[in-house]
């Protein structure tokens, strides 16, 4: 009714001072902010290490090793990126349950039915995609709120995962042998040894996800649908199909994570993705930290990956700073929570102040 024409922000950015410019870039270019934070974290722990406050050196070798724990969360955060960007309250609480169920399926394929490795990996990813498709159909076509649909499938999938092998893990010799998928590989000096699946799984998936989000027509459609689905329909986008596909992609990535976790544990564990607070929560946290706006249409693969790296190395540092028992992982919770709320506050401020963020 009341058309309030605010001063167009684009015109305000001209002639701003240096401080204002730094503030604007820091608030709107999430990758820049995260990169700065990343440097701060590394320098800080290096200083702590030099002062003798760490139980082990926070060196390149340690950081390389820490990448192992980054892989699942980075991939699931990218999964959440797809779903949250699709808009209308998009969120996927079921990713952890998909990891569990697809992982059990993987365990059966490799460890019980004796399928060869590659068809099994393919099968596991297909199972993940199918489970995601159920979410997508419920949300995009039946129009369930995403929170409800994925809460329900979270329960259903984790139940099936637990029942599938009577609550027992599958760790037959072929499954144990999968650990080789996640062994460390030596790189030429000065680079540290890095877990193999960083190269074989994380990097390819990250590049593919980036291509899909930033360079493909589907990505364009997804951003359009997430930003304004009515306008997207007028711009001839198939809103329901685009949303559906986002959930399929989320399931597919969860299937990939299933392969990784089975390899890491050398065992297909029915509770792999749902134990404790599960995998969905940290994934959503990392996604939001990476600049994904919960109202949809905003978020980039790069931001999410840097956020995952930041959280990983921050956690790794805290494990060294708090050697006593579980104290390090405890402080990780605090950091994760604070960082989530603060980054959401930043998103709010950036949107209010500049009308956009990258």
């Amino acid at each position: 009714m009341t058309e309030i024409e605010t001063v167009p922000p684009a015109e305000r950015t001209r002639g701003e001072g240096l401080a204002a410019r730094v503030l604007r870039i820091g608030l709107t270019e999430r990758v820049v902010l995260l990169a700065v934070l990343l440097v701060v974290v590394i320098v800080w722990f290096r200083v702590l290490g030099a002062g003798g406050y760490l139980v082990a050196p926070y060196d390149v070798r340690y950081l390389g090793n820490a990448l192992e724990s980054m892989v699942p969360f980075a991939l699931l955060a990218v999964a959440e990126l797809f779903v949250i960007v699709s808009g209308r309250g998009g969120i996927d609480l079921s990713v952890g349950a998909i990891v569990s169920l697809a992982g059990m399926a993987f365990g059966f394929m490799v460890g019980v039915w004796g399928w060869p490795l590659l068809p099994s990996i393919f099968g596991c990813i297909v199972v993940g995609a199918l489970l995601g498709a159920v979410n997508g159909a419920l949300v995009a076509y039946v129009r369930f709120p995403a929170l409800i649909a994925t809460l329900a499938t979270y329960y259903a999938y984790s139940s099936l995962a637990l029942i599938s092998n009577a609550n027992a893990p599958i760790s037959t010799p072929p499954v144990v042998a999968l650990h080789a998928l996640t062994r460390n590989v030596n790189l030429p000096a000065p680079l540290p040894p890095v877990p193999l699946h960083v190269f074989t799984i994380l990097l390819p998936c990250a590049v593919l996800a980036w291509v899909v989000m930033s360079r493909s027509t589907y990505g364009r459609s997804l951003y359009a649908v997430g930003t304004n689905d009515v306008a997207a329909a007028y711009a001839t986008q198939s809103v329901a199909r685009t949303r559906f596909t986002a959930f399929v992609l989320s399931g597919l990535l969860s299937g990939v994570v299933a392969v990784v976790t089975v390899g890491q544990f050398a065992s297909a564990r029915p509770d792999a993705g749902i134990v404790g607070n599960g995998m969905a929560l940290p994934a959503i946290t990392v996604a939001v930290l990476g600049g994904v706006a919960i109202q949809g249409g905003i978020g980039r693969v790069g931001g999410v990956l840097v956020a995952a790296l930041l959280v990983t190395w921050l956690n790794a540092g805290m494990l060294l700073a708090f050697p006593e028992g579980a104290e390090g992982s405890r402080y990780q919770l605090l950091a994760l929570g604070l960082v989530l709320v603060l980054s959401a506050l930043l998103n709010t401020i950036a949107l209010r102040r500049y009308g956009r963020l990258s």
């Binding site: 027509t217 930003t227 306008a231 986008q237 198939s238 949107l351």
Partner: protein, 501 residues
Amino acid sequence: MAEALLLLRGVQKRYGGVRALRGVDFDVLAGEVHALVGENGAGKSTLIKIVSGAEVADEGTVEIDGIPLTGGSTQAAMEAGIATVYQEPHLFGELTVAENVFLGRELRTGGRVDWATQRTRVGELLTQIGLDPAIGDVRVADLPVAEQQLVSIAKAFAHSAKVLILDEPSAILTDREIDVLFGVVRNLRAAGVGIIYISHRLDELAQISDRVTVLRDGEVVASRPTSELSVRQVAELMVGHELGSATADRPAPTGDPVLAVAGLGRTGAFAGLELQVRPAEVVALYGLVGSGTDAIARALYGVNPADAGTVQVDGRAVRLHSPQDAAAAGIAMLPGNRKQQGVFANKSIAFNISSAHLRHLAKLGFWFDRRRERSIAEDFLRRISIRAPDVGTAVGALSGGNQQKVVLARQLVRAPRVLVLEEPTQGVDVGAKEEIHRLVLELADGGSAVLVISTDLPEVLQLADRVLVVRKGAVVREFERGASQADVLAAAAGDEGEAAA
């Protein structure tokens, strides 16, 4: 003569360089229905905003019952006795009628709502305005829209308003529902309430109003008893002296129709639409809000598909069940609500222009050709002079006119055979308006068919080769180029004498 409940003297209001109101005098007496009419942009809504406290006048005074209204607060205006009922009811579907009426000022005893008293009061109110008092306990979501509208009047009245503003209350109602509404308005008038009645449907004025005030370009051009004016006279007062028709000089269109519509209809919206648009022809559908023109546009673009009739583009029958179908058939549409249906506000100009052509801009079926996207956007940026640093600028940061140009550019990327424009220049400054018109005519000159759906009468007459007047979901009159505004307006507004089409 009764006392003036509301008295405006010399009210002026500027928005930037635009003088929305230039010294308006206006008054409403107790027990009077005072109709306020004027074309879009004449200053009606500004006047209403000032009276209801949403805006403050730059100059002049507003008095309610002799007490000056100060400060732009809707709360203060409400307490002073002004009640406004907007076109779309602002009600809560899950709450009952009684709860909606008293929301925020429940009659309480302690913290508990005094349901008994509240129910009695609601019963009285509903009876007073002619509704079934039993609906007090019904959820608003379970009522039809018309009754919701009446409930919002009841809500306005729960707090003993002296002056009631009805802002186009009839636009979304059916005839029978309008009768109910009029009954309510008459009851209120009998109770001594002063009513400002805003409507585009001039035929209603004779039925309901005592006095008519006509606004034009922010000035009162007439304020007379309704009985002294005919629909035709009101229409003439609204449009004023017509300037020599500034219409584009365009050759008469020839050739087989690009767009041929036969018997098109959608239940509850419009029926039996016959329409042919030839190459290079601009045809306008003119109708008041609620006439069904917007539904016709949505049907032609497949958003809300028609359920009867056929559409042919270049002689080929096409199925229009989705915007994708329409685009495949060569039909493009500029939607009427820019904010909701048009722009992706936090995305770049290039993103906005390319968004309807993703597959067209794909390499190998999936790789999005960003270079071509950019060059197309830059091309448009030059052609339509959008004031923006580059094509990466977020559209939300542009003015309304420039946003509209971007959305129009999106429709022009692949030179559609048929372009449907819904309110192409609403909320757009004069410069942008001219430019949009120029772009549309350029497209038409290239041999496309253009269908303009607009409530902006001068625009319609300026652009269109033919004007079809739509009322109640059916075409009632057709005008050739050069028709007078007053004729078209009178036909659309329900001048029965001329509308026997």
